[in-house]
Symmetry: C2
Subunit: 448 residues, 2 copies
Amino acid sequence: MKVAKFGGTSAASGEQIKKIKSIITSDPDRKIIVVSAPGKRFEADSKVTDLLIALGNAAFANEPVDEWMEKISNRFFAISEELQIPKSVVEEIEQTIKEILSSNLPEHMKMDALKAVGEDSSAKLISAYLEISGFQAKYVNPKDAGIIVSNEPGKAKILPESLPLLADLREEDGIIVIPGFFGYTKNGQLMTFPRGGSDITGSIVAAGVKADLYENFTDVNSVYTVNPTIVQNPKEIRSLTYREMRELSYAGFSVFHDEALIPAFEEKIPVCIKNTGNPKAPGTMIVADKKPQEKCVVGIASDTGFASLYISKYLMNREVGFGRRLLQILEEEDVSFEHAPSGIDEMSVIIRETQLTPNKEETLIRRIKSELSPDMISIDHNFAMIMVVGEGMKNTIGIANKAAAALSEANVNIEMINQGSSEVSMMFGIKADKLHQAIQSLYRTYFG
Amino acid sequence: MKVAKFGGTSAASGEQIKKIKSIITSDPDRKIIVVSAPGKRFEADSKVTDLLIALGNAAFANEPVDEWMEKISNRFFAISEELQIPKSVVEEIEQTIKEILSSNLPEHMKMDALKAVGEDSSAKLISAYLEISGFQAKYVNPKDAGIIVSNEPGKAKILPESLPLLADLREEDGIIVIPGFFGYTKNGQLMTFPRGGSDITGSIVAAGVKADLYENFTDVNSVYTVNPTIVQNPKEIRSLTYREMRELSYAGFSVFHDEALIPAFEEKIPVCIKNTGNPKAPGTMIVADKKPQEKCVVGIASDTGFASLYISKYLMNREVGFGRRLLQILEEEDVSFEHAPSGIDEMSVIIRETQLTPNKEETLIRRIKSELSPDMISIDHNFAMIMVVGEGMKNTIGIANKAAAALSEANVNIEMINQGSSEVSMMFGIKADKLHQAIQSLYRTYFG
């Protein structure tokens, strides 16, 4: 049995939904579908969920909601026309919105219910479309599916009691269509998920039914070995482990949010990234483990926008707790860091530049000078971080050598190496202006 | 003007002291001498300071002191006989000890005064010997020299007010002989230094008189490029910076205690390590800076006996303060660490194994599991750390490559690389059983 989740772009229009139908019905194992609200059809378009939020804000500010209601209705109307679904479905959506607004729920709960209308309506539309196309399909509300969440508005988590309830979905005949993004507390209160909402639903449903495969349909063919803006037409990654995916996500490779994968991860459900626009392409598999002979460098992630805070103090390593006190200052100043390599009398902290406003830099330097009395302190900007990722790296002789040689060949000075802390990656810091030649050289070395 | 300090081995016997005289008088610039108490003449010998401490302990326990007094007298008697110095000098020493014991100072101050007798007597003997050999020489007590220290028994520090007072020593004619290891508080109370005592005196005197050179006479020819027990007859280091010396000391290269150098370091006095037994050998210079073209790998330090504490937790880098809390646990458990490389979901802490008793390991693991809930935690033993040291390393393209290639050639797996935190070194972690082939390969690469 396969669980397939379709993101906002895939549900944005009738034309896209026709592809969804085609994908689902081409494989009888695709029994359970999780869908997002209609997303953008083109760059300047609006996501339906954003329109719903705007409607809610207008209502709570006692401003007219007609403009927003019209935009929302038009989106669903366009979809239903293209798919030749009865108009009544759209009228039901308008009715639902009105009922929410006029209910006596507190504002934050009204907003949550409004936000959920996008996914919920999407699921109803798609289910209706499958039915009128001649397939046995039914919409299942998350409450009936068994998606029970904690009572934490804005950061609801799936509760373990969902799993046995979800398992019952296996027994259903026909195609099940479930809206993503929301669940219900034990008291029956609707609660939306935080970021990556539909991914979380898809993942928990796949885990609950112990699916053979969880397919995440998005708008890219695969996860690539390197950033396609740095190397043209790079090789695609056919398969990677959860750990490798996590390391590559670090630098923006993510096609979904990491936390969303946890339920699938814990039940060891394989995940496949696929492209709605090109469903026959094999996509990228994400699996729990790899066989030893498959272990090698799987991809290279990179990102710019890092700064390095450098401190030196003669006899630093004789001061017990020096490193911890430095980290404490950063924590109190709400500055998170990527990595803090320390030497004997020196320490660096790698920080994302977005956190270092001129004010914050000044505060950090002032506090560090005052509380730690360093001999020297400086903040260097414009670093890039490169992650060379792959299972089995830790025990492969010569692997650091290969990477260092590639960088040396490209005439790139290595400012920082962090290898050994992770079992599946090595981190290199270089000056950001050298990033492209560094990545190109590494790509040639590992994938050329 | 040169300041020369002679350590315990150099002052251990008449024969050794003759070498001191020969060294001093062969260079008219050697105007100020700092000396230690007589040390060991052979492996099983006693240091005179240890004999004085034993005498003090016996006295305070109301046990007879005659045995210890006899041993101490015999040492000084043997020296005075060989150097043909009048016996009265030795009788003075016995008298001084008796006066200290019978004084009404509190016990800890008596002990301090006893400990200082070794250096003080050594300086008096050597000064007397220079005089009867026909040279203009005089003993100068640290109080008269101007060595003022803080009132912190056991960890006295030189106070800045010493420097102008010491400057007056430049005006003196003839050779000045100053005992190392102790100074006086502003109130005139005698106070011994902590570890490295005579080195501290030598360094502050060199700084105070703004010496052109501070010569540290010991029992090795130089600092070597690698551990001579791993590579036979390794090249000697002719010159290194203070920073390079500090990094190499990390792994036991130290011929003196690092803190002792601080006064010389701050006044940028060059230091030279020389061998009393081979004074014509050039020794090793320690300087404030190097010219850029001189910058290259200067030495390779190494040490075994490290363990690696490894922790992994999915989404670790989303938990603000995780790293800081780990360091806090270590600090509270009184465990200091060398280095804490962190990845995205993983962290390692490199710790000297001597700190990890089975009890301590168990406590750390228990606390970390309980307070940080990692997915995985393990402690691996038998690591060795290698430091490749040299100014200018940070900006030299290909330097990590060279080291990694050398290790790869020797078939050594690199468990950890820490490069970039220090401007003058790179740190590699490997399994301890591979250390010798690793160092030999690195030696060939950099010095072969």
